[in-house]
Amino acid sequence: MLGFKEIKNGLLVSLWFVFLTFPLMVVKVDPVERIVRWRWENSLYVAIGTFAVFLLVKIIIQRRSRNAAVDKEAEQKKESFIHRVLASPRQKFTLIALLLAVAIVFPLFSSSYQTNVMTTALMYVVLGLGLNIVVGMAGLLDLGYVAFYAVGAYSYALLNHHFDLGFWAVLPIGGGLAAIFGILLGFPVLRLRGDYLAIVTLGFGEIIRLVLENWSEFSKGPSGISNISRPGLFGIEFGLDGAIIYIYYLMIVFMIVTIFIVNRLQDSRLGRAWIALREDEIACQAMGIDKRKTKLVAFSLGAFWAGIIGVVFAAKTTFINPASFTFLESAIILAIVVLGGMGSIVGVIFGALILILLPEYLRALSEYRMLAFGAILVAMMVFRPQGLISNIRRTYHSDKKFPSPTQQ
């Protein structure tokens, strides 16, 4: 299956990697004690490892291209499996009902840890769906999404701390404030395009975090705000385990509501305008769409969800400080959207579950956890750059029939 050429190439590649990793993997110096340690064994590991990976990738590529003709059909089938399920109402409802059932019984026979992690994943599903409006649908690359998340979290933390306001009272306030911040950010950056927009949003995210970090009188600075109340239910307070399960169910409900709303937005006049804006700004304006208004609505709606989840976040951890709102957080949420498949709701859900659960379950790899995470991120992009699940457009039908014209 693999010829001499591949073996030779494999050897060359592993030789290259041995060279590449030589200073960092082999040499270890202690500058003070002035000792050099040569860890030659690492070179051997690198050589063997690279060779194996190279052959593996070659085999995969070979099989792919060899079966290209045969595979293409199968590939298409596989790709559209989710789509087919979603397209058929019966299968769709079976699937949804089943997932819902699993989701409902999940906390009953899993540990608090599992429930907690799942809650986190659900939060990122909603965050991903919110960012999906901005990036996936409206095509505005936002690298500072975490700022709105912070606005929501701090709204609840501060209002709860100073005025003893409850979770349910602050939920709409947090969302609303975040939406206002979305508009505030949106105004100056309306003219910017593509990557300039990206860096300005990144800067905006950093500004919000830095202000929270430095303005101690307002936000208590880096030492954070603790003892934030957990959400209650009509005055009932839960213990810790109860609260974990309660927040889990809360997030299930939030997620369903969000999916419902985002789904409707996507197929509405507004959703079409967003996608048109993403596809071609000039044509979009020429078709009578108000670019400013459409962009601002996208920013503020996206921010709204981040604000809502920010409130939930503060209530869930009961403690927040600016360390939770770094650029990396924005990057992860963006990765969820891109990995899932831009603009695709099902894709975002998959993306969030993978990217949030993955590092948790990679804990078994202990110190190799983040190394593996980075590698997997690259590998997923290389092998599936369009994302896991591509977006499908809704089809509409007219009452009248329009037959295909017979070819003359």
Partner: protein, 376 residues
């Protein structure tokens, strides 16, 4: 046919969901589960990983001697990246896995968010590095102990030294904007102001990881400060003292426990000479401390790193408490910690009812000829 296949896949999906939710590990009754939580990856990993090593060293020794009361100790090591939200997951995971005591967390923020979970599960937590005063003073976390002095105590020692021993009247207080550094700096500022003997001429934060600190050093110079009290960790301290030397500025530099670390001297080299840092009393002469560092060098072939001694001490204290209490019951452990003294690299210690270590003692050190020398 088509439908059957999709049903199969649905079933598979359901089974997968169930598999995820199955308990991770069965409870093995013959080991004591010892959790270690802290930042083991990301930008703050260098403060968390030494604790893991310390725990490994102590626990390996204990296990080599046959464990505690016949039971071996099993380490459960979990990363929290020093982020509050990850720390809650880490904590629930440790609780779910049956951890009976926990060494950690590293950052005060992460500790604060994780503590309610341990408190709820009645698990003893001991941090080698979380210095936020509230953690012990507030009384909300009866299960929390630490082997590091709280911010206010560290700040008091430094301020007293600068004002009384060195006789400075103009102090610049600088911090690294982190929860540890800023907390310390705010206390230092208020102690200076309260003393009436000196004034704070500058109070500012520097951005950790910035490529250059010369502007802030120029500002210190302009402020006319005679001493800089710095709250933060050694990397920034090293950069600032380096810049102070480069800019030919003559000021005393005093800092906290995060700087009183041999790595500081190694990194700052000659620039470190003359720098003051507060830290636990009497460690260099302590044979246990020497042994601990030697052991680390032998096993890991590297320098120990930040909070290693504190973590080593904490692990010893917890092991001792488990042994004396004969169980991992929180009340019994607390009693043992508060009554049974234990020999550690940081001295012969026990804990007060708030949870702070007693007997560590705190003093100011100065770097002289490449070593921290205690100032009497």
């Amino acid at each position: 046919m088509k439908l059957m296949r999709s049903k199969k896949i649905l079933a598979a999906a359901a089974i997968m969901m169930l598999a995820f939710s199955a308990p991770v590990a069965g409870m093995a009754a013959d080991t004591i589960k010892f959790g270690v939580a802290g930042a083991h990856s990301g930008d703050l990993a260098s403060y968390g990983l030494p604790t893991v090593n310390a725990a490994k060293l102590v626990i390996d020794q204990v296990n080599a001697k046959g464990g505690i009361n016949g039971k071996k100790i099993e380490l459960l090591i979990e990363d929290d990246v020093c982020k509050p939200e990850v720390a809650t997951n880490t904590a629930t995971k440790l609780v779910s896995q049956g951890a009976e005591v926990v060494l950690g967390h590293i950052c005060s923020g992460a500790t604060k968010s994780a503590l309610p979970i341990y408190t709820n599960a009645n698990i003893l937590v001991m941090s080698p590095s979380a210095t936020n005063p509230d953690l012990t003073y507030s009384g909300e976390y009866p299960n929390f102990f630490r082997t590091i002095a709280p911010d206010d105590m560290q700040a008091k020692v430094d301020v007293d030294y600068a004002l009384d021993k060195l006789g400075h009247t103009k102090i610049a207080v600088i911090h690294d904007k982190g929860d540890y550094g800023k907390g310390f700096a705010e206390f230092a500022k208020s102690f200076v102001e309260k003393s009436g003997k000196a004034e704070v001429v500058l109070f500012e934060g520097v951005t950790p990881g910035a490529v250059d600190y010369s502007a802030i050093v120029q500002k210190i110079k302009k402020s006319g400060a005679q001493a800089v009290i710095f709250g933060g960790y050694h990397p920034e301290a090293a950069k600032i003292v380096g810049m102070i030397k480069k800019k030919r500025l003559k000021v005393d530099f005093l800092s906290d426990d995060g700087v009183k670390d041999d790595t500081f001297i190694k990194v700052a080299g000659a620039d470190a000479e003359g720098v003051y840092a507060s830290g636990p009393k009497d460690t260099t002469g302590n044979p246990l401390s020497k042994a601990a560092f030697a052991e680390h060098k032998k096993v890991f072939n590297a320098d120990a790193g930040a909070f290693f001694e504190n973590a080593y001490t904490a692990t010893l204290a917890m092991v001792n408490a488990i042994e004396k209490a004969g169980s991992t019951d929180l009340a019994a452990l607390k009693k043992a910690l508060q009554t049974e003294k234990v020999d550690t690299p940081l001295g012969n210690i026990y804990f007060d009812d708030k949870g702070d270590a007693v007997g560590i003692g705190f003093s100011v050190y100065q770097v002289q000829n490449g070593a921290f020398v205690e100032m009497k």
